[in-house]
């Protein structure tokens, strides 16, 4: 069987989660690899959410928020935008491929865009192959 990546999505409930719902009401078909967790705002995404997702076996983590300027909380997405590069730098230092963790802006009216992002990310991670984070953690435990 071909490798089916597991992707955890953290979506802000005002724009991106609503956009993902719109993909549903519009019956836009996309890859079933994403599992969505709803948050109030992308700024709620704690680095530990991403770390835990990878540690628990996610092959990719997608964070979606409102477009810059459209945040329900005025500037939450700007905070996410500024925090993200730090996290990416740290992940890179631990050998986690850049494409595994992705930040995208999806508005409430962009059902198609949400589907496109999920499809694109699924295919990219499929090419990368499974994440080694979880298995590494398990081996480490066993060897110690």
């Amino acid at each position: 069987m071909s490798f089916e990546p597991k992707i955890v999505g953290f979506l802000c409930q005002w724009c991106s989660y609503t956009g993902a719902d719109l993909a549903g009401t519009s019956r836009i078909q996309y890859r079933p690899n994403i599992r969505v967790i709803r948050l109030m705002c992308s700024a709620r995404v704690d680095p530990s959410f991403i770390a835990k997702s990878l540690a628990d076996g996610a092959d990719g983590v997608l964070v979606c928020g409102c477009h810059p300027g459209d945040c329900h909380y005025a500037e939450g997405n700007y905070k996410t935008m500024r925090r993200f590069p730090f996290l990416k730098k740290m992940l890179a230092a631990y050998g986690i491929e850049d494409e595994r963790v992705r930040l995208e802006w999806v508005s409430a009216s962009e059902g198609q865009r949400f589907a496109d992002v999920v499809n694109d990310m699924t295919e990219r991670i499929r090419l990368l192959g499974p994440s080694r984070v979880r298995s590494k953690l398990q081996t480490d435990k066993a060897e110690r």
Binding site: G24, Y30, P32, I37, L39, A43
Partner: protein, 574 residues
């Protein structure tokens, strides 16, 4: 928590979920999850019997937490929260798994969709184990309403609200009230004057001291939440420099209307090139001026009316614009009464005469000798200039479906029945009031059948053609429904706000004040004496920006705690 008893309820949503997700397998899977004591599936969980089932089980099995796997929580979270509240549980001891919008409606493969539904259901079960009972606060409801758009919908909503004694602000982008209806002469099917309908409304609006009309104005931003919005209105009206006015409003009704399809986009109708090919709105202008004539000032001997211009086509808009068929019949009537000798042909795809009095009107029009020609959806008629010897300006070639023959009809004047489309600034409006649009740009209602007036944002309502093409009665009905909904909320005087907000654990707080600067609402105050930060819960909007930034982990985002999210992560990855 370990003694918790969870009930899991799976909705088939008719066949919406059940035809893709293997619901019996999902039910069996859910039953084996930790702390689940009862797991059931039902045709419609949101129905009364569905809710009753949950309420009964809470009593019979002593459930203290409930999970419903069904549609989006944006649709029915509130429904189920109040159901479990009826059974005596705290409404927050509930979690929903979205297996419709984000599963059965977007995936075709049963195995993959069922696996995903299992993961989402498990995440909900693991999460709900960490839920805590929360108390809601109530805040006052500001009784003023903002109406965006001064067309027939906006005027009607405003009048109903103001005549019930409530303050209304109408923001109109143009320099006059009336909207698109002001461009219409008579209305179908009773041939009343549109001007009369509007003048009556506008006069009453102008005379009502509870209504403030702002012309040449638009909404710049809307902040706050239901009952407590602050709207910034940019007013240009007669001022050299635009002025920004801040208004406190409790609710907003969006009545921004539509724009007509640009007929020039269909090249082979020759609009913009053939001078006597005009749009329905240009013809309305002629009717209002009382002169039906060609560009050259001659009385037309042949008039052709072409339906579905931009509507019901694959290339442009798939939908029916609903008003054009009756408007076309109205034109046939008006032309016949102005120029009895004129030959009128009506070139249509299907005649949609769905409304009250419409079928009668269609019959009456057929009797005044209008030639009806039916064309196929994908075979548009072709208009060309007539030859020198012909006694007409143009010739229209129609592949007539009923006779199966290609027929050529003469025309001196061609009227294109242009459809309705979403306004180009509709996405700007959607963004500023935080509502959704469908793929055609129409605003989306909270529920297409059961709640066609509200939106998914509390306190924001939609009325008229900004939501979809509509005729006047439907527009007015929606406008009045919006007003009634708002009056109901004003009558209650207060609204319950979410019990979800951040709180600082005073024992863990180091007083670093990182969160103080991060909060966009200045909801976190610092106690200089205790050297601790504290969240003002009534001001907090629960975004969680402070929660994820606290170096001491001292801030808890109620109902979105780290523990709850971790449990969800474990669930979706199981």
């Amino acid at each position: 928590m370990h003694n918790s008893k969870i009930g899991v309820y799976l909705c088939n949503c008719g066949t919406n979920i059940a035809k893709i997700v293997d619901c019996p397998a999902l039910r069996e899977y859910a039953e084996a999850l930790p702390n689940v004591v009862v797991s059931k599936e039902y045709k419609y969980m949101c129905s009364n019997p569905g809710q009753e089932m949950i309420i009964q089980d809470i009593k019979d099995h002593g459930l203290d937490r409930v999970v419903v796997a069904a549609c989006s929580p944006r649709m029915h979270e509130r429904t189920f929260r109040s159901a479990i509240q009826t059974a005596g549980l705290n409404p927050y001891m509930f979690e929903m798994a979205n297996i419709r919008e984000q599963c059965s409606w977007v995936h075709e493969d049963t195995w993959a969709a069922t696996e995903k539904a299992k993961a989402l259901t498990k995440a909900a079960v693991l999460r709900v184990l960490h839920h805590e009972p929360l108390e809601r606060m109530s805040v006052k409801m500001c009784p003023s309403t903002l109406v965006i758009g001064g067309g027939i919908a906006g005027l009607t909503t405003a009048l109903d609200l103001a005549e019930a004694g409530q303050q209304v602000y109408i923001v109109e982008k143009k320099d006059q009230l009336g909207g698109n209806l002001a461009r219409v002469d008579l209305t179908a099917p009773y041939l009343d004057s549109a001007r009369d309908l509007l003048t009556e409304r506008i006069t009453r609006v102008r005379e009502n001291n509870k209504i403030e009309v702002m012309l040449n104005s638009q909404l710049k931003s809307l902040e706050g939440f239901v009952g407590n919005f602050v709207a910034a209105i940019q007013i240009q009206d007669g001022r050299p420099v635009a002025e920004t006015k801040k208004l406190e409003v409790g609710n907003v009704v969006v009545c921004t209307g539509y724009k007509e399809f640009d007929a020039g986009r269909i090249t082979h109708y020759g609009y913009g090139k053939l001078p006597n090919v005009i749009t329905s709105f240009e013809f309305e202008k002629m009717l209002k001026a009382g002169r039906v004539e060609t560009k050259e000032g001659r009385i037309p001997q042949y008039v052709a009316i072409i339906h579905c211009v931009g509507s019901r086509s694959q290339e442009f808009h798939g939908y029916c614009s609903r008003v054009c068929c009756m408007t076309a019949l109205k034109y046939a009537h008006e032309i016949k009464s102005a120029i009895p000798k004129c030959y009128v042909s009506d070139v249509y795809i299907d005649m949609h005469a769905f409304g009250k009095g419409h079928e009668d009107f269609y019959k009456r029009t057929s009797e005044v000798k209008t030639l009806f020609l039916m064309y196929g959806k994908n075979e548009r008629p072709v208009i060309r200039k007539a030859d020198r010897g012909d006694d007409c300006e143009m010739l229209i070639e129609v592949n007539e479906k009923l006779s199966g023959e290609v027929i050529e009809i003469p025309a001196d004047l061609v009227i294109l029945m242009v459809g309705m489309e979403a306004r180009e600034d509709s996405s700007e409006v959607a963004r500023s009031v935080n509502i959704s649009q469908d793929k055609e740009g129409w605003f989306i209602e909270s529920h297409p059948k059961l709640d066609p007036v509200a939106t998914t944002t509390d306190g924001i309502y939609i009325a008229g053609t900004c939501a979809s093409p509509k005729d006047i009665p439907d527009t007015v009905a929606q406008a009045r429904a919006a007003a009634a909904r708002i009056l109901g909320k004003i009558a209650r005087g207060k609204i319950d706000v979410e019990a979800v907000y951040a709180e600082v654990n005073q024992d863990y707080c180091s007083g670093c004040r990182m969160c103080n600067e991060l909060c966009p609402y200045s909801a976190i105050e610092y106690d200089e004496q205790k050297r601790r930060s504290k969240v003002i819960s009534a001001v907090c909007k629960a975004c969680g920006a402070c929660v994820s930034s606290c170096p001491s982990g001292a801030i808890k985002g109620r109902h979105f705690t780290d523990r709850q999210i971790y449990a969800q992560i474990e669930g979706v990855l199981a």
